[in-house]
């Protein structure tokens, strides 16, 4: 499934991925504290998620359930990144990650392992 989510929408998804299905009211409470959104703002963003098909609304109580998993969202973002920045070639992304100085040797070791596994 290809759904492009903005940061604001990912905030909603984050809660659903972490806590499972919760009411919209609960999301509004959490985000009100966490990022300072008003109720209206939160509901606007939830509605966007509903429209995009990332969230399912279950009544009564406006319970929200995630329709996509964290992995799906990550995959989509990664694919987009690869297409946009690396000409669709995943190995170039890996090369770029490996070339980064900030990665610790432990991380690099894990990544190399991952590449080996996938090959």
């Amino acid at each position: 499934m290809e759904i492009k989510l903005f940061d604001s929408e990912l905030k909603i998804m984050e809660i659903l991925w972490k806590e499972g299905s919760v009411t919209a009211k609960h999301i509004a409470d959490v985000l009100g504290k966490q990022v300072g959104w008003s109720k209206t703002t939160t509901y606007t963003v939830i509605k966007k998620c509903l429209d995009k098909g990332a969230v399912l609304r279950i009544d009564p109580d406006f319970v929200c359930r995630a329709l996509i998993t964290r992995e799906q969202a990550q995959q989509f973002e990664t694919t987009e990144l690869i297409n946009k920045m690396y000409d669709g070639a995943a190995d170039q992304l890996i090369a770029s990650l490996l070339g980064r100085k900030k990665l610790s040797s432990k991380e690099i070791e894990r990544l190399k392992q991952l590449v080996n596994e996938l090959e």
């Binding site: 903005f6 940061d7 604001s8 905030k11 990022v35 300072g36 959104w37 008003s38 209206t40 703002t41 606007t44 963003v45």
Partner: protein, 481 residues
């Protein structure tokens, strides 16, 4: 004053500012233009006029005295009369219908209101659409930002947030301003971050968002006036230029090139009306960079020049001539005379006007007459319903050709009760009609308007017919209760 009058008088002022701006934008402090735009906006939005004998309009008035043409004010009058004419010609059997129609359809008014509504809706809808997105911005966890916020406190609470859907920093909100930074901001570039935040901070401190709203309001009300569009565009740019100027002065002139480079990086599109600004952002960014690089130290000469310009331009273009006051001074005794004469009752009705006629014409067959024209009172319903209870129009028809140069504001006097009032007038030589339009100001309205006192139109004996005869009597008095 009508919107049209305000628009016309502000147009000259805007033109003057545009010319000064073109000639001296790099020489004067940018705040000069902001003040001038402010004066223009007052002219556009506040329906009162300040009188001054140094006004350009006073000068025009004096010029007109030596010419047979009527003063510039009559342009408005002619326009208004033109819109009223069809009503005047309505046939009598359709009088009621015509009266009703006059209430609901004044085409010019309808078009204006439609335009205002469309413009206002455009601004509001765009604003709220963007605002809804802006409100979904997320907090920033950054040491530098926190420090900056602590050291830049004002009475209003400032928030700094990040948003993944903008490409350039912007500020929204007037009472609780929020600075939005793009998610892709380089958080490690402290210098650039400080420039950006300072720029937005200056906008916040100066209530620039409020000014932009007022500019948009002026544009909505005066949408028909291309000069106001020009003002909207240039004033929005000048807000940025002046903000840049302040930032550069705060950081010191040495940093102006690195600030300019930051601007190029950001190409800030901070307005909340993105569809408007993008079209011009290329030009304006060039203008901004040039303005920054050409920034000089504020000199005493520059400040003095700016001060003189602001005062000079405001007085010359934003005030009206004092002729209205002149009338008050000379005419009050005549008014008392007039009412005495009416009481003595030798007034004559020249023509029995049909009842409920849509618009009255009063024939002056014999200029020797003192007319007690109570018959105009029927016109009250109509005139009041056209533009509310503060507007009334009269048409006086002469039976002889008149000497136009004697039909001037010295010789035509209009009173509401015993007080003289401002009015517009126009004489149409072809039809021998003199149109007189009154508009009440808020003070007159609060005193009861047309219902509280009779309206008198006095034609003094200095008025001549085209073959040189003076009106014999002291005045011709048209009277409406």
């Amino acid at each position: 004053m009508t919107v049209y009058e305000m628009s016309v008088s502000a147009s000259l002022l805007i033109l003057a500012i545009v010319v000064i701006r073109a000639l001296a934008i790099h020489q004067l402090p940018k705040a000069t233009f902001l003040v001038l735009w402010g004066v223009a906006m007052c002219r556009l939005l506040i329906p009162f006029s300040v009188t001054s004998s140094f006004s350009l309009y006073a000068a025009l008035d004096r010029l007109n005295h030596f010419r047979p043409e009527l003063p510039s004010a009559t342009v408005t009058s002619l326009q208004q009369v033109a819109t009223l004419k069809p009503i005047a010609n309505a046939t009598e059997q359709a009088v009621d219908a015509a009266t009703a129609a006059a209430v609901s359809i004044n085409p010019v008014w309808m078009i204006w209101v439609t335009g205002v509504t469309v413009c206002a809706l455009f601004f509001l809808i765009t604003h709220f659409r963007f605002r809804r997105v802006y409100q979904t911005a997320l907090p920033i966890d950054n040491r530098l930002i926190d420090e900056w916020l602590r050291s830049h406190k004002i009475r209003r609470p400032i928030q700094i947030r990040q948003l993944d859907r903008i490409n350039a920093p912007l500020t929204y909100g007037i009472l609780r301003p929020v600075i939005l930074l793009p998610k892709a901001t380089d958080w490690t570039d402290e210098k650039q971050l400080r420039y950006v935040l300072m720029h937005e901070f200056v906008h916040i401190k100066r209530f620039d968002t409020l000014w932009k709203w007022l500019l948009a309001a002026s544009l909505c009300v005066h949408w028909f006036n291309p000069m106001v569009w020009v003002m909207y565009l240039l004033a929005n740019r000048d807000i940025e230029l002046s903000c840049d100027e302040t930032v550069v002065r705060a950081f010191g002139a040495k940093q102006k090139s690195s600030y300019a480079l930051t601007l190029i990086n950001m190409e800030e599109k901070r307005s909340m009306y993105a569809p408007f600004c993008n079209n011009f952002s290329k030009n304006s960014i060039e203008e901004r960079i040039k303005a920054i690089m050409k920034l000089k130290k504020i000199s005493i000469v520059g400040t003095a020049a700016a001060l003189v310009l602001v005062i000079g331009v405001s007085v010359a273009f934003a005030t009206t001539g004092p002729h209205a006051k002149g009338i008050t001074a000379t005419a009050t005794p005549v008014a008392q005379n007039a009412s005495e004469n009416q009481i003595s009752g030798h007034g004559n009705l020249l023509k029995a006007e049909p009842k409920k006629d849509a618009f009255k014409e009063i024939d002056i067959t014999d200029l020797n007459l003192n007319i007690d024209a109570k018959n105009i009172s029927e016109a009250k319903n109509l005139t009041e319903s056209i533009t509310g209870d503060d507007f009334s129009s009269f048409v006086i028809k002469f039976q002889q050709d008149m000497d136009e140069s004697t039909l001037n504001s010295q010789n035509i006097l209009v009173f509401i009760g015993k007080k003289s009032t401002e009015f517009n007038y126009a004489y149409h030589a072809k039809s021998r009609k003199l149109n007189i339009d009154l508009k009440l100001d808020s003070e007159q309205k609060s005193q009861g308007g047309f219902t509280a006192a009779p309206v008198r139109i006095l034609l003094t004996k200095k008025i001549k017919t085209s073959d040189g005869k003076f009106i014999d009597n002291d005045y011709v008095c048209l009277y409406r209760e």
